[in-house]
């Protein structure tokens, strides 16, 4: 498992069908993406579960603003 921020941003971006890859950086405020919906939130939870093997909750997504914020939450869980 690649736990770098760059890998996380890439994994995050891969869940989106229409938004170009260059729209995604660590500092991206994900909720402002046009493609973002409650469904995408669930898709991200599924990705985190599959790749990072930890549970990201709806509340944690709600409390985060940028992709980096999400990364920090996930990495903290990965490291126990």
């Amino acid at each position: 498992m690649n736990t770098s921020i760059d890998a996380f941003v890439e994994n995050f971006a891969s869940q989106f069908d229409e938004t170009p890859m260059d729209q995604f950086q660590a500092s991206t405020a994900f909720r402002e993406l046009e493609e973002w919906s409650s469904m995408t939130a669930l898709v991200i939870i599924a990705m985190v579960d599959e790749i990072y093997k930890v549970k990201l909750t709806g509340n944690e997504i709600k409390d985060s603003t940028t992709i980096e914020d999400l990364y920090q939450v996930v990495i903290a869980k990965v490291n126990g």
Partner: protein, 175 residues
């Protein structure tokens, strides 16, 4: 009839539920996403119920923790074509934040494709309902027509199950 799954229940509507449904349908929040936006009187609501209370239409209250939060439906079922129209609304913006809508939708559409044995579902979505448009793409809905602010979509059974595979696994794991 009650269908359960993913932490929600769909309960087939009865006459005693009509007041609540009418209240929701007349509210500004719900009305804005509907094609029919005129005031609905108790008589109109009852007449509607008598028209739809049959095997070709399934209207459900979406219930979470014993609280009804919205309405879900499979209507105008064509038995020969194995098709129907699906729809859903949540009664208040506070329910939209979160995965409640998704869970209700998956339970509804699973019912349509599995129990009702349908192979395609149509949707009518108003332009104002951006959230629904985005949402539907993840379900595998394809837009076939768009005119005067109203879009018509179609969802095929195979597309639905392949597109929702990951979401279903996560919902199974975490509810």
């Amino acid at each position: 009839m009650v269908i359960s799954g993913f932490g929600i229940r769909l309960k087939r509507i009865e006459e005693s539920d009509l007041e609540l449904i009418r209240f929701w349908r007349n509210s500004e929040y719900v009305k804005q996403y509907m094609v029919f936006r005129d005031y609905i009187s108790p008589e109109m609501q009852l007449a509607w119920f008598k028209r739809v209370n049959n095997q070709n239409n399934h209207y459900f209250l979406i219930i979470v923790e014993n609280t009804p939060v919205g309405l879900a439906n499979i209507k105008d079922i064509d038995v020969e074509r194995k098709s129907g129209e699906s729809g859903i609304f949540l009664s208040s913006p506070e329910f939209v934040d979160g995965d409640l809508g998704i869970r209700a939708t998956i339970v509804l559409l699973d019912f349509a494709f599995n129990q009702l044995d349908l192979i395609q579902l149509h949707q009518t979505i108003t332009e104002a309902n951006q959230a629904a448009q985005n949402f539907n793409k993840h379900l595998g809905v394809q837009i076939v027509e768009s005119d005067k602010g109203i879009s018509k979509g179609i969802l095929l059974k195979n597309n639905y199950f392949s597109k929702t595979n990951k979401i279903r696994k996560i919902l199974n794991k975490y509810t």
